[in-house]
């Protein structure tokens, strides 16, 4: 029983960051229709920035997270302006290739700057975990979970309730019409990509201290983020949130009770099954033909 509870708790905590990762991607992938292969790199970037601020410069832990996220936003804006702006209106494969190129270049730059040796980041929280009955959770992970949930809520409010959010949705449904409504298209694109990137960097900054940081951590993060987005349905923030938790639970329980080796396979199998049953993901919208 304790074992099951412990697994569930692990999954819940992990799910928070998965959701964060998924939301960042769903903004870009679901709304802008850019298959963003740099998402994982922004995650890695966030983690390395965290390493830099906390371990090399010695900044405060929480401040470092904010800084890492802010830098992620800037980097995202940079990528959008430099690489994607001139591809406005290009098809999904074209932007995807550019993003793959950027991914390869970024990952190897990271490797060059930080070397392949894994880095670890100290957390200011006590190493002794919080114990509740038979289960325990480390303070660091708890903190990560709380911040992740807060960021998710903030993003949701941004999209649904603010003018920027509405402009974002309008722009990606019909760019020209949105321009006619007075929306500044370029800014909306940049903002969307920057926010999505910021969330990825935040996820990296939060998980960096939990795990270790090395140049290819982004790859699996990317794959999982895609999985989460698809589980939830493209462009749906509640979908990505729930998708993140579902994936975490599947993985944790699969690893705990089936075989730890197939941990990562669980999520992907789940995707295949879900898409076979409900091809549009759990939360989807439809377009009419004819």
């Amino acid at each position: 029983m304790d074992q099951l509870l412990q697994h569930a708790l692990n999954a819940l905590i992990l799910g928070g960051t998965y959701a964060l990762l998924g939301i960042g991607l769903t903004l870009i992938f679901g709304i802008m229709r850019v298959v963003n292969f740099t998402h994982g790199e922004l995650y890695a970037f966030g983690a390395y920035m965290m390493y830099m601020w906390v371990m090399l410069i010695g900044a405060n832990f929480v401040v470092s997270i904010a800084l890492a996220m802010a830098l992620g936003v800037l980097l995202g804006a940079g990528i959008e302006i430099l690489l994607l702006r001139r591809l406005r209106g290009a098809d999904i494969d074209t932007t995807m290739l550019v993003m793959i190129g950027a991914w390869i270049a970024m990952q190897n730059t990271e490797q060059l700057v930080w070397t392949g040796v894994a880095k670890s980041i100290d957390s200011p929280f006590p190493p002794a975990p919080l114990v509740m009955g038979g289960v325990s959770v480390s303070w660091t992970r708890l903190f990560v979970f709380v911040v992740a949930v807060a960021l998710i809520a903030a993003t949701w409010l941004l999209i649904q309730k603010t003018r920027l959010g509405k402009a974002m949705r309008a722009t990606f449904q019909d760019r020209e019409s949105a321009a006619l409504m007075g929306v500044r298209i370029d800014r909306v694109h940049t903002a969307t990509f920057a926010i999505g990137s910021g969330l990825a960097a935040a996820a990296g900054a939060l998980l960096g201290p939990v795990f270790v940081v090395y140049p290819t951590i982004g790859d699996l993060a990317s794959l999982k983020a895609f999985a989460i987005v698809i589980l939830g349905g493209l462009g749906s923030i509640p979908g990505a949130t729930i998708g993140g938790f579902i994936l975490a639970f599947m993985e944790e329980l699969g690893a705990g009770y089936v075989s730890s080796g197939y941990r990562d396979a669980m999520g992907f199998l789940l995707i295949i099954v879900i898409l076979l049953v409900k091809p549009t993901g759990l939360f989807a919208r439809k377009e009419r033909i004819g």
Partner: protein, 234 residues
Amino acid sequence: MLVVEGLVCRYGKVEAVRDLSMRVARGELVTLIGANGAGKTTSLKAISGLLTPAAGKITFDGEDITRASARRVLELGIAHCPEGRRVFPFMTVRENLEMGCFLRRDAAAIADDMDRLFARFPILAERRDQTAGTLSGGEQQMLAISRALMSRPKLVLFDEPSLGLAPNLVERTFEIIEGIRRDGVTVVMVEQNAFAALELSDRSYVLEQGRVTLTGTGRELLENPHVRAAYLGA
């Protein structure tokens, strides 16, 4: 009020509009007619800031808007109801209308305007929470017109507003456009339905291959033998 002089627009090497000039006075209803591909849509896009002209000059109320952004043009009071409806397919009818007044901040007046539009188009009121992409063609067209009006424009550019509408709605649409004009809004309209358009309009321009080839009052053009042969099918 709106003056276009020597407008030239290019798509790559294709010259879609070559040397187009026209002027629209306040309160007028002006139509552009012409065959498919004559450059009507392109001209409207140039005016509303969706395209940057290769040459020429566009002024509105004395301000040069040749290179102004779509946002600036809208701020000055020009709304554009685009060809092919172009509603936001995944937003509800209401959200689409809200987008129409994206630059406005007077919530109460917006609510009033929206009620008035719903009264004009009861079917939209009925569908207000349906996503626009699932509306029928005609419903989408009504939505697009309404959306353009939500910004309380001084001048509206209509690009084929009657496209795909049932005869009674075509009629209603033209009535609405007349109504808009009566409310003091200037209208520039592109139409294939040349009969109705010419009947309605104060003045009209005929476009052929990116140039104005004929101009006159609606009546004059209705009687012009060339226009009758080429555009009225008579």
